[in-house]
């Protein structure tokens, strides 16, 4: 009989908390904004955007120095959203902190907009590296972290990966090398929503025991609730080892919208009906 490791038991417990944790007003407002934008554009990766939005929010609010980000100062922390399809969550956060430059979120995915369905550094200064094709963010982040280490910089390189994206072999190539180079300035966050476009991980490609895997690759690892602002904020203070870090952020795909939660149908939603929009807004406003 298959037995659960302690880490897996802990992970299940954290997932359960991720599911039940209530959202604060800020988190709800950001979700309402994301839905408004998706409604206007007629399509978006809503599920992934809402599973990463709290992580990205805390990164920009509490972890990275926004003044340095605004100035593109070389001392800034670097953030790469490797799962680029979650970019609506990123755009909402960038808008909140005035980091969209001249771009308007209302123009999301329009022909002349700088805000596409995957983030581009060419069209938006606050995007560190263009992503979309999966498995690219971590190798690039390792290169950046190596360069910053050579420069004796204190800046962090934070890269957010999807759990489905973890199937790309390039991630594991990069993980091996990050460990070899002892890149303590590298922070990998796995958005572990346990679901990809075709269904749950167990059916498509099981990843557990995910924490042990990253540990085996030489990373310091911790599992947190990816919708708990306090846990996200604290983890950057408590992980102080000389190894590269990997945070397993247990999240809920579509978190905050009951009809979208844990639904692969809402991974990429092309047609959102008026009834659905009305139900979503009602649920976010009433909780």
């Amino acid at each position: 009989m298959y037995t659960l490791s302690n880490n897996m038991k802990k992970s299940l417990e954290v997932r359960s908390r991720a599911k039940s944790i209530p959202l604060n007003v800020e988190a709800k407002m950001m979700r309402i904004r994301a839905i408004e934008v998706a409604e206007r554009a007629g399509r978006a990766h809503i599920g992934p955007a809402l599973s990463v939005i709290d992580i990205v929010h805390v990164l920009y609010r509490d972890i990275m120095n926004r003044e340095l980000l605004c100035l593109r100062d070389k001392r800034r922390d670097r953030f790469i959203l490797s799962k680029g399809h979650g970019c609506l969550g990123l755009y909402v956060v960038l808008e909140k902190f005035g980091l969209l430059g001249n771009e308007r979120l209302e123009d999301y995915c329009k022909y002349d907009s700088g805000l596409g369905g995957h983030p581009e550094s060419k069209t938006l200064d606050s995007v560190e590296f263009s992503t979309g094709s999966l498995g690219h963010g971590l190798p690039v982040a390792v290169g950046m972290a190596y360069a910053l280490k050579l420069n004796h910089s204190d800046s962090k390189v934070i890269v957010l990966l999807g759990d489905g994206e973890s199937a790309e072999g390039s991630n594991w190539e990069a993980a091996l090398h990050a460990s070899k180079h002892k890149l303590k300035n590298l922070w990998v966050i796995i958005d572990f929503n346990n679901m990809q476009a075709s269904g749950v991980l167990e059916d498509v490609l099981p990843l557990e025991p995910i924490e042990e895997k990253w540990q085996a690759f030489g990373f310091d690892t911790k599992s947190i609730n990816g919708h708990s602002e306090a846990e996200i904020k604290d983890i950057f203070k408590t992980m102080t080892s000389d190894k590269p870090k990997c945070i397993i952020a247990n999240t809920i795909k579509g978190k905050g919208i009951p009809i979208a939660e844990d639904s692969s149908e809402w991974h990429h939603k092309a047609k959102i009906s008026e009834t659905e929009i009305s139900a979503i807004k009602k649920s976010l406003e009433s909780k």
Binding site: S121, K122, E128, F129, S130, G132, S133, G135, H136, L138, P139, V140, A141, V142, G143, M144, A145, Y146, A147, L148, L150, N151, G169, S170, E173, A174, L176, H177
Partner: protein, 306 residues
């Protein structure tokens, strides 16, 4: 040619801290002195080409100039998406040093012969594609690539024992030998220029006057004005390349000429076959089997010269 390139990278790295060499399990002796003298600027990674290109992109994004070296195919085929999306989409100054261009690794079989690399690299927007013919040109290209930083470059290495050549215009990307008004013109890139030179050496003086040749050191930006005089004077123009028939030099020349109204019927094309070779032997064996060695070319043009 490879040694000349790596030595030059080492020399540049001593002068410029931005220059970093990145290899993929290239062997114990590779740049041993650089490894000891400049450990931060020498990175020997595992066999992981997709990672390698992404890693180089991260370095370049932070202001470094990475020279990445592995076998040509392992860049162009395995890491194609990283080359396109990480390097070219971001216009980063990554220099891909591609060991074993063409049929250099013929004895190792089809997994190791780079017969389609020029096509793959040429189609990447912003990619500069160089095919040096000797060590001097290799150094020239390495130097250029540090001065002109915009975008990635693909540099195809020859076997390494090529004699040094004396072109009439050594500082140009379009190098010329022989009679500029020759009846028979050869257009080529990389090491095949040596075959044309051997061919001329086999002809009597008068016959040699019938031959002109142009070697394109950089093939991604060929312009007709750079060889208009030679092309217009020639009766027959051979395009010879150590590459499959499509997507390489001939495709580029056709693309350039079709816009000029010049007669395309003058062109003759000799290349590798459009298949993965299942013979081994040497590079020369394969050039001969495809009619690209000087003896085959001599026999083909014999009647024209007479």
């Amino acid at each position: 040619m490879r040694k000349a390139a790596l030595d030059r990278v080492y020399e540049l790295a001593r002068q410029d801290k931005r220059v970093i060499f990145v290899g993929s399990d290239l062997g114990h002796g590779t740049l041993k002195s650089m490894r000891e003298e400049l450990p931060g600027q020498f990175v020997m990674e595992g066999i992981a080409e997709q990672y390698l290109v992404g890693f180089a992109a991260g370095l370049a994004k932070e202001g470094y100039i990475p020279f990445v070296n592995t076998i040509a195919n392992f860049f162009t085929r395995r890491a194609f998406e990283q080359i396109a999306m990480d390097a070219a989409l971001h216009a980063l100054p990554i220099r891909f040093l591609a060991t074993g261009g063409g049929m250099v690794y013929a004895p190792l079989g089809p997994t190791h012969t780079a017969i389609d690399d020029l096509a793959l690299m040429w189609c990447v927007p912003g990619m500069k594609v160089y095919c040096p013919s000797d060590a001097n040109e290799m150094i020239e290209v390495i130097d250029i690539s540090v001065k002109a930083l915009e975008g990635p470059s693909y540099i195809r290495f020859g076997k390494g024992d090529e004699p040094e050549l004396n072109f009439s215009n050594p500082s140009s990307m379009v190098k010329k030998i022989g009679n500029p008004r020759a009846k028979i013109l050869f257009l080529t890139t990389g090491i095949l220029i040596h075959e044309v030179i051997k061919l001329v050496d086999q002809l009597p003086a008068k016959g040699g006057d019938c031959i002109g040749a142009i070697h394109f050191l950089q093939i991604d930006n060929i312009e007709f004005r750079t060889f208009r005089e030679e092309f217009s004077s020639a009766s027959i123009v051979y395009v010879i390349e150590e590459h499959i028939p499509y997507g390489g030099l001939f495709s580029r020349i056709l693309h350039v000429i079709q816009k000029t109204g010049e007669p395309i019927w003058k062109l003759r094309h000799r290349s590798l076959a459009h298949n993965y070779p299942h013979n081994y032997g040497s590079q020369r064996d394969h050039l001969k089997s495809c009619g690209l060695d000087y003896e085959s070319l001599l026999s083909e043009i014999g009647e024209e010269v007479v």
